[in-house]
């Protein structure tokens, strides 16, 4: 493992921009081989969509419910995990939502930009694990 960070936020959309700034700072901080610049946009997109999902679907806008976010950089992969109190997510619509639909793109985006996505419930807590293979 080359880098690890874990923290909690409230279920509040005000964290979205700071989260993107944080992941951008990590990318600048670590070795380019561990977090290439080309991985920054996909990881930012997936993280924002996963947190959106936790805020609006898992926690239904209840601000006090915490969302835990972890980022691990290890040989050959960037792994982000978003943990919430929800019941998990369904499978994304493939090949994608109806083009004129104004919702339902979040999960599709995550699956489009990440190499592997897993959603599981552990001890009543939902974990969305998103892996970007380098």
């Amino acid at each position: 493992m080359h880098f690890q960070s874990v923290f909690k936020i409230k279920s509040d959309t005000r964290y979205l921009t700071p989260l993107r700034e944080w992941i951008s700072s990590v990318q600048k901080l670590v070795d380019e081989n561990d977090f290439p610049k080309k991985a920054l946009l996909p990881c930012s997109m997936a993280l924002v969509e996963a947190v959106d999902n936790a805020i609006f679907h898992a926690h239904d806008g209840v601000e006090d419910l915490p969302i835990e976010i972890s980022l691990v950089l290890s040989d050959g992969s960037i792994v982000m995990e978003v943990t919430d109190k929800g019941v998990g997510i369904g499978e994304p619509v493939i090949p994608g939502p109806d083009e004129m639909a104004d919702h339902g793109r979040g999960l599709f985006i995550i699956h489009q930009v990440m190499s592997k996505v897993e959603s599981k419930i552990v001890d009543g807590t939902h974990h969305m694990r998103m892996e970007y293979k380098l």
Binding site: L16, M45, E99
Partner: protein, 114 residues
């Protein structure tokens, strides 16, 4: 997020700066929908200073597009940054919206329809 509205003839130009995401989408929505309620049907979304858009931001653009196309209008998207252009391509919205290089080009496209 910074939003400014300018008018070029009958075309409303909404200049967006920063991030159009779940946190900022309601402000954009109110401004855009108020313009639609006031009779505007031709929109340019100027993304020169827009650095990020999430699925909820994309959703409100699609919702605006649907509303104005019902009234024979259109929403044209201009001056996409590399990141926002990539997001449009990943979500295939570059095929749904008329994406133009700049506002001048977009206004000409509206004029061609007349």
């Amino acid at each position: 997020m910074n939003i400014e509205v300018k008018q070029l003839g009958n075309v409303q130009v909404i200049e967006c700066g920063g991030s159009l995401d779940a946190d900022t989408v309601s402000g954009f929505k109110k401004i855009a929908y108020d313009l639609v309620s006031g009779g505007s049907t031709q929109f340019i979304i100027d993304c020169t200073d827009l650095n990020f858009i999430d699925s909820m931001g994309l959703g409100v653009l699609i919702s605006l597009l649907r509303r104005v196309r019902q009234r024979d209008g259109d929403v044209k998207v201009v001056s996409l940054s590399d990141d926002v252009k990539t997001i449009f391509e990943i979500t295939r919205l570059h095929r749904l919206f008329d994406v133009c290089s700049d506002s001048e080009t977009a206004v000409k496209r509206f004029d061609e329809i007349k």
